[in-house]
Symmetry: C2
DNA sequence: TCTACTTTGTACCAACCGGTTAATTTCGTC
DNA sequence: GACGAAATTAACCGGTTGGTACAAAGTAGA
């Protein structure tokens, strides 16, 4: 009984940033999968390369952890978006590309979508507390505003085209495509979620959004 | 110690249907507000006019209750939809009205939307178990199919117009408008959710959906 | 070397919470 | 009006779970 339980403490390095990152990554999966109340701290701790104690050491409590996860998710996604370069394209092409990119981008980040769903269940209470997120998002429609300005100046877009509304439409279709896939496909089948189905949806999203932005007499009739 | 704790049992009536209904109504609010894992059975029981034991008596366990709530929510909403009468309208008008109705209908039933969000968080696992729901929904696109058939026959709609896809677009915009209101408005403000904002969104939803259904040469240029 | 920060491990707790036991009342019906 | 099934009540239980206490040791920079 006196055989020491192995001094597993020997040989570890300090890496606060790494530990935090590791915890956040695991917690993001768990919260995205099970929601705020559904996620289990013990479960998160177990999947971490560190211990439960460290979670509380760095994030205080469960809600604190959730808040940081939410921030991290927004940061990742918005950072990815910023890589899109549109200024060199004519307005219509830029708008098309932005819509297509958003559709694909959301599709590639289902965990982010799920976290936003969860946050909406909580009426955005945690998002409210984060200035960072609001900053990140404020920049999210700047691209769209630039496109609209150029489109109007070129006489292509409606005078009353509203960047925020375009963003809403693009977001809605791109978001719904991920958020409601489970129920929609269980009820109506998978056709819309096959590669061809997705291609069609994306194509029509672009068609509709561009149609909404363009002046009526500028709409080509394919 | 022998003073009976008040015979509060005296004077109650048997009313199974009423009790079930009462429980379901309360549970729907609680689940919609807090999710499956977030809702508390004790809390539901307290807000009920009956006791916790009756919940288990009628619904087995928490998941059973949730499943019944989900079914009831679908039943209520789909029943409301069926009152819409479209056969007497020309196809384009019928499509417009259906889209507008759906937008308003979703807006009027936020609890239903929230339950569907929650169900999607659970990957539609409980919806899967309900034949009733699938039956109810199967009928949901019949209206749209009828409209499309008439529209095609009249030479107004594209030959390849897809009722299911139209349903997807209408649902997406109408659903997102409720489901993501919290996060969207906290980030971008309330403009789109004011009465005028909502009117505009609805109008443009109709414009886009009709535009998608119509043959290009049938699109009037307003 | 001093000191603050970081990491590990284990054991523990009190509240919460889903679910149960068991007894009692109502009510149709034979 | 007795009987059994259905309906209802109140008290109770035990596992789960977020969170802590405590002790100790390794690390890094000053």
């Amino acid at each position: 009984m006196n055989d020491k339980p192995a001094n597993s403490r020997a040989g570890w390095k300090q890496d606060p940033a790494g530990v935090r990152k590791n915890i956040l990554a695991v917690a993001m999966e768990e919260f995205a999968a099970n929601g705020l109340s559904g996620a289990r701290i013990d479960e998160i701790a177990a999947k971490t390369s560190t211990s439960k104690r460290m979670i509380y050491y760095y994030f205080g409590d469960k809600e604190g952890l959730y808040g940081h996860v939410l921030e991290e998710a927004y940061r990742q996604v918005r950072t990815g978006e910023q890589e899109l370069e549109l200024d060199h394209l004519p307005p219509v092409e830029a708008l098309k590309l932005l819509a297509e990119f958003t559709f694909d981008h959301h599709s590639r980040h289902p965990d982010f979508i799920r976290l936003v769903m969860i946050e909406n269940i909580h009426d955005g209470a945690y998002l409210e507390q984060s200035e960072l997120i609001r900053l990140l998002n404020a920049g999210a429609i700047q691209k769209l505003e630039a496109i609209c300005r150029r489109g109007r100046d070129a006489g292509l877009f409606r005078d009353d085209v509203a960047p925020l509304e375009l963003h809403w439409h693009i977001s809605a279709l791109s978001f719904f495509n991920v958020s409601n896939r489970a129920t929609f496909s269980r009820i109506f089948g998978n056709t819309l979620f096959s590669p061809e189905g997705q291609r069609t949806l994306k194509e029509h999203l672009v068609e509709m959004v561009v149609g909404l932005a363009l002046k009526p007499d500028r709409r080509s009739r394919r």
